[in-house]
Symmetry: C2
């Protein structure tokens, strides 16, 4: 099974940052589950899967998000589905965390000898190669980077299904973090917000896509 | 034009971190151009497109990369196509940079009044909302996050075409940065390495995909 180049390019041209959705149109449950599933099946560095997805369908909770989300004023009330993407906080992302050990043992199903060896590799990578342990933020941002792979994939699979989306970084971070604890009962020692993404159906066609030329962003060797 | 849920899920199950490619098999030029194009058409925060793609087909250059890329020992020599993804350094990503002004003016084609207003929004976002100006690294990592959307999309579009891929973070960062300047003639004041990604055709089937369960990574409200 392959998909034609033409259909792939049509998919990528279909996707745009949809600022307002038709509030009357809802995404079919099977379609939304497929979108979420492509997030779950996304790759992440060393398979650490540092993501967590909050699906916010409650109107009152969306209004709470909207108070500090200046970049989602029209999207949050009109979207069929709203997802807040969380990323694991730094102490869970450390090479020597219980979370990583548990992943290797119970998800990746690795033998103890391999776990020991990999832990050393992760230590070297985090300490020396990428210097991720120099600050809490560096390690958390590394976790967030992985969630952007899932973010991209979910928007692309939505577009494949003819569903629009809008990614949102335009929010006041501190207020969002507080709301996470207060209104969403999330342990903010464990998770922080990476970004939001909204899904639904456009009310009008998007502007023509603008991008730098291929020549300006590519060099062959 | 839409693609079926079944074909989407097959695509995401097909993709795995392919550690070794069949060195004899080359990706058709049109297919590779399509993969790159889906990187180019990817969304990025505020449309800043902070990416740059080095396509490394020269064997000697790949060997230079391989010296410090412990996570790409088999992939680099056997891949049909190797891409080093760069991200713009912090001073290009600042709200008040010439790069951003040029993008708004010449790519987004915005009128001056809108450019002025948006610059203020970006300032507030970078300074207050996401506190990206607190360090060079925070701003650069923010640029890198956007490149992971393109990374994810390129691997997904490859999978749609029946092409395998492997993303690579396993390299010694400082040596890679030095090679960027010395061997690739890249101005490292302008760009830094975000990650690498290799494309080609698997020599053997991948291990069964392991992931946390949907229940463990999703909460509905």
């Amino acid at each position: 099974m392959t998909i034609s180049r033409d259909d792939i390019l049509k998919t990528f041209h279909f996707r745009h940052a949809c600022k307002e959705f038709d509030a009357e149109k809802k995404i079919a449950e099977d379609d939304f589950r497929t979108i979420l599933e492509t997030g779950r099946l996304s790759p992440s560095s060393f398979g650490f899967e540092p993501w967590y997805f909050l699906v916010v369908q409650d109107t009152a909770l969306r209004e709470k998000l909207r108070k500090f989300t200046w970049g989602g004023q029209k999207q949050l009330p009109t979207a069929s589905h709203v997802v807040v993407i969380l990323a694991r906080k730094s102490r869970f992302m450390r090479y020597d965390s219980e979370y990583i050990a548990d992943l290797m043992r119970n998800v990746h199903k690795l033998p103890e000898a391999v776990i020991k060896k990999r832990t050393e590799i992760y230590k070297k990578f985090q300490e020396n190669d990428f210097k991720l342990l120099e600050s809490e933020r560096a390690l958390f941002d590394w976790a967030c980077k992985q969630t952007y792979i899932a973010l991209g994939n979910m928007m692309t699979s939505a577009a494949m299904l003819g569903i629009d989306s809008c990614p949102i970084e335009g929010f006041e971070y501190d207020k969002a973090e507080k709301a996470l604890a207060k209104d969403f009962a999330i342990d903010t020692d464990e998770f922080g917000i990476s970004c939001m993404v909204t899904f639904g159906f456009r009310v009008k066609e998007g502007r023509e896509k603008t991008r730098q030329s291929t020549e300006n962003i590519t060099r062959w060797y």
